[in-house]
């Protein structure tokens, strides 16, 4: 953490200093710039006087001082013009390169920024439609049977609580099943905790499925579970999840009412004040599940599904052949493949019914997790299944989703670079002003995030410490840098073929003392 802050500060200071030093040498600032337009001084005269200028330089005269020299004033003026002529050539070439650079960046970053702001606010856009984004208020009679897949690895800290939480979901016992999926080669702790929970609960519908072959990742476990279940609906919970007791009723109702084949329910990180970045991480989930997924599903008809609290009709999973075990983000891949095959996907988000999770505990964990997701998205993009999406709009939507980490990282990288170029290179003034548009978009995003934390706090009845908003404003850009680091790290790993699963450590931070079963039991 300390190293990261120091590194960030160093970059900012270095950029700032470089800007300051180069700004003072900006061509517009020099008297030679004014003299260049003086009538009667030709470029040839200027070149002839180049040597004279060298003498001025050697004698320590600054270019500004040549203005005050009376005797050799003409020579000095011509001299500065000569240098200006030479610089003109250099700067003109730089100008073209700089302008092209800014234009290309704006071409990608401007739509990306506006699009991002739009999907972030989509759910709140029209109050008339606010009910459409919430869970049903009245439930249909139970019709579908549910199997909860619980893949776990090195989760001895949390698995027991999660089994208890999933078991507590209110639904007829004969219509629900829990499969705990653990690789049985180096994870005795988790297996022991799972067995303990099964024994304590004494529920015959809870089963432990262990295996030793196949890749050491989540989709492998999910496919094991899919192979041994026969219920209508298969859902996934992560090892630290805290699902709402009415979740099956909600999904059962939505599947009957809307004819949905897949239902993605909300997931929410809850520990907004445990680390400097956790509030922004919580808000990412808040905006993504409450607004973004609705936007992509309704407007673009393409849904990158989340990794948990997602419910599939089993026939659809069978039809697409289950999860792709070669990918790091099999969840998003499944969503895109199902979208391309015409599955009806429905998003349900209601603060009351979200599955609660926790943010990564450290910057290192966060970067690893985000690297995995970004890398997974790049893998899906490279795999190319998204090309089978029927319409251009869907393809465009999928491209945006899959390359968004990269575009966002480019935006963060562009900000200091674009400002630097605009300040130090001789670009058209209008373009220099336009080069700041991404900064304006970042400002808008920051303000939306600050409103978002107030909304989050009000929704989940959280208290925000004093000056929390100020703190958020301060860490907003550093957080974006974290995302950029993860994104570029993902590119590096993707190119170099590193695809080992980097596990996120879970420590039950999202569970309050009242909900942590282990504490209440003991």
């Amino acid at each position: 953490m300390k190293r990261f802050i120091i590194f960030t500060l160093l970059i900012l200071v270095a950029t700032g200093l470089f800007n300051l030093t180069t700004v003072s040498a900006q061509p517009d600032d020099r008297p030679s710039e004014m003299l260049m337009s003086s009538p009667g001084v030709t470029r040839a005269q200027a070149l002839d006087a180049l040597a004279t200028f060298g003498e001025f330089q050697l004698s320590g005269q600054s270019m500004e001082n040549t203005e005050n020299l009376s005797a050799p004033a003409t020579v000095a003026r011509v001299s500065t013009n000569a240098v200006n002529g030479a610089n003109d050539f250099i700067f003109k070439n730089h100008a073209v390169a700089s302008e092209v650079f800014i234009l290309i960046c704006l071409f990608f970053l401007l739509p990306q920024g506006i699009f991002t702001v739009y999907w972030m606010l989509f759910a709140w856009n029209d109050p008339e439609k606010m009910d459409e984004f919430q869970s049903p208020k009245h439930y249909s009679a139970p019709q579908f049977s549910f199997t909860a897949l619980l893949p776990a690895r090195k989760e001895e800290m949390v698995i027991k609580d999660t089994i208890y939480a999933v078991n507590a979901i209110d639904y007829p016992e004969h219509l629900k099943e829990i499969l705990i999926l653990i690789r049985d080669d180096d994870d005795d702790g988790t297996i022991a905790q799972a067995n303990e929970a099964i024994a304590e609960l004494g529920n015959p519908n809870i089963r432990l499925v262990t295996f030793t072959d196949g890749p050491r990742n989540k989709p492998n476990g999910l496919n094991r579970g899919l192979a041994v279940t026969s219920n209508n609906v298969v859902c996934i919970f992560d090892a630290e999840d805290e699902p709402h007791p009415e979740l099956y009723h909600i999904v059962n109702t939505v599947m009957q009412r809307d004819g949905a084949d897949v239902v993605q329910s909300g997931v929410q990180l809850m520990n907004h004040d445990s680390t400097w970045f956790s509030a922004l991480n919580c808000l990412e989930y808040f905006f993504w599940f409450k607004s973004g997924l609705h936007f992509f599903t309704r407007m673009l008809n393409v849904t990158p599904l989340g990794g948990n609290t997602v419910f599939f009709k089993k026939e659809w999973l069978d039809r697409i052949g289950g999860w792709d075990e070669g990918l790091l983000t099999e969840d998003a891949d499944v969503g895109i493949r199902m979208s391309s095959q015409g599955a009806k996907i429905q998003i349900v988000y209601d603060a009351q019914h979200v599955t609660q999770e926790e943010t990564p505990a450290t910057v290192e964990d966060f970067i690893k997790q985000r690297t995995r997701w970004s890398q997974g998205f790049y893998e899906i993009f490279a795999k190319g299944d998204w090309k089978q999406l029927p319409s251009f709009k869907q393809k465009l939507g999928a491209t945006y989703i899959l390359l968004n980490p990269l575009l966002q990282a480019a935006m963060i990288l562009y900000l200091p670079l674009g400002i630097f170029v605009a300040l130090t290179q001789r670009v058209t003034l209008a373009l220099a002003v336009a080069s700041y548009i991404p900064l304006g978009i970042l400002l808008i995003e920051m303000l939306i995030t600050m409103a978002g934390i107030l909304e989050f706090a009000a929704t989940y009845e959280k208290r925000l410490p004093r000056l929390f908003l100020a703190k958020m404003a301060l860490v907003h850009y550093p957080f974006q840098i974290l995302l950029a680091v993860a994104s570029f790290r993902a590119i590096y790993r993707f190119i170099t073929g590193h695809s080992a699963w980097e596990k996120t450590t879970h420590s039950n931070m999202h569970r309050t003392s009242a909900t942590v079963r282990t504490e209440s039991v003991s």
Partner: protein
């Protein structure tokens, strides 16, 4: 008739077809009153010339002004005029920037009139009283004169009204708020006084937006508006012209500065001088009320001002008039306390005055409807108020028929043409800005009179601080007044030492072409 009146008084929305009819009627009214003789009256004034010169400089040289851009106004107005001029140059239209610009102002005026109707309706005014507001605004000679001129105030007013319109009413989405912020941001980039309307718009968002998205509405509006507004100081800072010389970030080399220019332009009057009868504001009030002045409409100004005061007082108790009151109060206070007021500064208040009149009249009618139960008495009282108002307004508008018939432009153009034909290519001409573009295109050493004394580059480098280097002077009453009031010594001396070549009566806006007499050139300059 009475039935129709009652129908119009009802607060129910008209049917879609009637709505379309009303909109078409408004556009027709606004279009006709504005368009008849718009290229002949009023005369092209100095401010219009300045805007045309900026557009010309953008087209010809890619710069914001023919001289050093001094940040008196943000650049968007010139940019819009430039784009309009370029666009209209490819279709059959008047080729001069000013006449082309006046067609743009016709569109702006029609949109403003339509927006006034929209705002009035959203403030729960009936169709009748919304139309009253529209008619008063659209027929007012003061409105017509200002709105026909190619002024940034007109474009800014449209932006502000659109921003206000978009946040008003039920069923507002974040998209509405976003576009409102864009409208206000662009209005600011046209004329910085748009900033004075921000509290009114924010108040509506704060109080009227749906609780479901209020926080996001506020930050979205603020973020978008702020991003656009900051583009102006950013532009200045990129040129190292935000702060004055000697200030932190201002550098040490002499340069124009946005902060300095804006501080001078918006300089406040001393508190003790605020109500002095010779203050700039008081002088302009006299002009706005004096029927001999072009920019005047005593009836509209008095009724509008009284209505505005009523709204301001009522706002203490009545919540729904507060947004309108906030729009009014900030600009009114700004205007009253401004050290140097121009007659066109009243423009943003005119639509608000018209809406205020509509609000007050409707409220009066509703109160009568509520408290006077006897129909005959009630309609009698309606008549007692309506007939005198109708007569007074009609009398004012008929009295000012010159706006539809008199031509004050023709001789301006003749004067310019004469000088263009008779002056030599190398001549140095000093002129009112209305003629700047036309003359400069033919005679490159044409200069705007204000720069002759105030722009060091023109005064010292071009004219070498010597009036003898001026050959011709083209004067207007505005130029003579400025010479006298602002002690423009160089041009004043040239004028004194000149002889009249041609004069044009020009229907009350006389123009003179004078040749500078060089025989006194050897006498040391005083």
């Amino acid at each position: 008739m009475i039935k129709q009146f009652r129908l119009a008084l009802s607060l129910n929305a008209p049917s879609i077809d009637r709505q379309k009819l009303v909109v078409a009627g408004i556009l027709l009214l606004a279009g006709i009153t504005h368009a008849i003789n718009m290229l002949g009256f009023p005369f092209y004034d100095n401010a219009e010339g300045t805007n045309a010169a900026s557009a010309w400089a953008l087209i010809e040289h890619g710069s914001l002004s023919p001289y050093t851009y001094s940040y008196e106004n943000p650049p968007l107005g010139s940019l819009v005029l430039t784009i309009w001029t370029v666009l209209t140059s490819i279709v059959p239209a008047p080729d001069a920037i000013l006449s082309s610009g006046r067609i743009l102002m016709l569109i702006v005026h029609m949109l403003i009139t339509l927006t006034i109707y929209g705002i009035a309706r959203k403030l729960d005014l009936s169709v009748l009283f919304s139309l009253v507001a529209v008619v008063i605004f659209s027929l007012s000679p003061l409105t017509i004169v200002i709105q026909r001129r190619v002024l940034v105030e007109n474009m800014m007013t449209l932006g502000v009204l659109l921003a206000f319109y978009l946040v008003l009413g039920d069923k507002r989405s974040l998209t509405h708020y976003g576009f409102s912020a864009i409208a206000l941001g662009l209005a600011f980039l046209t004329d910085e006084t748009a900033l004075l309307f921000v509290p009114g718009v924010l108040y509506i968002i704060l109080k009227r937006s749906h609780i479901w998205h209020r926080r996001f509405a506020l930050v979205t509006w603020t973020g978008i508006a702020l991003s656009l507004i900051l583009a102006f100081p950013l532009y200045a800072q990129l040129k190292f012209e935000l702060f004055p010389t000697g200030f932190p970030l201002g550098g040490s080399h002499p340069h124009v500065s946005l902060v300095e220019s804006q501080s001078t332009q918006h300089e406040r009057v001393a508190p003790g001088d605020m109500l002095r009868s010779d203050s700039s504001f008081a002088e302009n009030v006299k002009n706005w009320l004096d029927s001999n002045e072009d920019t005047s409409d005593a009836t509209f100004m008095i009724v509008g001002f009284l209505s505005a005061i009523t709204i301001l007082v009522a706002a203490f108790w009545v919540e729904w008039v507060r947004p309108l009151a906030l729009l009014l109060i900030f600009y009114l206070v700004y205007l009253i306390t401004l050290l140097r007021v121009f007659d066109t500064n009243i423009m943003p208040l005119l639509p608000l005055f018209a809406i205020s009149i509509g609000v007050v009249l409707q409220t009066g009618a509703l109160l009568l409807h509520k408290y006077v139960t006897d129909k005959t008495t009630r309609y009698g009282l309606y008549a007692v108020v309506a007939i005198p108002l109708f007569i007074v307004f009609t009398a004012t508008y008929i009295q000012r028929s010159e706006i539809y018939s008199v031509n004050q432009v023709e001789e301006q153009i003749r004067a310019t043409d004469w000088l263009r034909t008779h002056a030599e290519f190398e001549s140095v001409i000093v002129t009112d800005n209305y003629a700047f573009v036309d003359l400069r295109e033919t005679i490159p050493n044409t200069h705007y009179y204000w720069t002759v004394d105030n722009d060091p580059e023109v005064r010292n480098e071009v004219l070498q601080d010597n009036w003898c280097n001026i050959d011709f002077v083209l004067t207007t009453p505005q130029m003579l007044e400025d010479m006298d009031a602002n002690r423009l010594r160089l041009i004043e001396t040239a004028y004194i030492n000149s002889t009249l070549l041609r004069s044009y009566e020009n229907n009350g806006w006389p123009i003179e072409i004078r040749e500078v007499n060089k025989r006194n050139c050897n006498i040391p300059f005083q």
